[in-house]
């Protein structure tokens, strides 16, 4: 096996090993619910976005609502 293949395989293995995900439980979402995590924190921007979405028929095009707290 050539060095090139080994190096490629090494990069792939390293890529797989360094990926990770963390599950945030519903009761741990206090930080995610902070107002600084919301894109449209001020109501004026939120209203303008809503108006623009309605005018252009692009509802949802500016992102989904909510700051990620997972509140239903």
């Amino acid at each position: 096996m050539s060095m090139k293949v080994r190096a490629l395989a090494g990069v792939l293995v390293l890529g797989i090993l360094t990926t990770a995900c963390a599950t945030v439980k519903p009761w741990q979402r206090g930080m995610l619910a902070d107002s600084c995590m919301v894109f449209d924190a001020d109501s004026a921007t939120a209203y303008m976005t809503h108006w623009q979405e309605a005018r252009e028929g692009s509802m949802g095009g500016f992102g989904v609502q909510g700051g990620g707290c997972g509140c239903k």
Binding site: M1, V5, A9, L12, V13, I16, L17, T19, C21, K25, P26, W27, Q28, R29, G30, A33, D34, C69, G70, C71, K72
Partner: protein, 168 residues
């Protein structure tokens, strides 16, 4: 050698995928025998409340629907406590000062318990905030609610009344 390497890579990918897609836990029927710490510092066991209908309401200061549910659940407590309902509002804020700030804004009569590390929430396998469990007089979780809408308090009321009428 290349085949073995490819096989190992595929295996590693599948292993990673299986870690992400964890199996969903089965439904709980019995309330976990867990100890709660009340705002007063007193501890209480859910098992000690057998004989009463218990409504466990999980809330947090950052949970927007909780601002609606908290006072309505407290009103339900005031109405049905004489008939045998016990309400425990379990706070899951990691910073208790946030919970105290919330409590100052919302006067209450129901029991408040703190669960800053989420041990109680984990024992009840919460899937959303807010979540509410209604436990019957025998200690079985009979109703589970996730989220809160305008209709939810009416459902709580009818379910609690149903359980209060059982095994009197």
């Amino acid at each position: 050698m290349t085949r073995h390497l490819a096989g190992a890579l595929i295996l590693a990918s599948l292993l990673g995928a299986s870690l992400v897609a964890a199996p969903k836990d089965s439904l709980i029927t019995d309330a976990p025998d867990i100890t709660l710490t009340a705002i007063s510092g007193k501890t209480m066991r859910i098992a000690d409340l057998k004989g009463q209908v218990v409504l466990l309401d999980f809330w947090a200061s950052w949970c927007i629907p909780c601002r609606k549910s908290f006072p309505e659940v407290d009103a339900l407590h005031r109405e049905l406590q004489p008939k045998g309902l016990a309400v425990i509002a379990v706070n899951v804020d990691e910073q208790q000062k946030n919970a105290y700030t919330f409590l100052e804004k919302y006067p209450h009569t129901m029991t408040i318990a703190f669960d800053p590390k989420g041990a109680v929430a984990a024992a009840f396998k919460l899937e959303a905030m807010p979540s509410t469990m209604i436990v019957d007089r025998s200690g079985h979780i009979r109703f589970t609610h996730q989220g809160y809408t305008e209709k939810t308090i009416g459902q709580f009321r009818s379910e609690v009344l149903q359980l209060l009428a059982e095994n009197q």
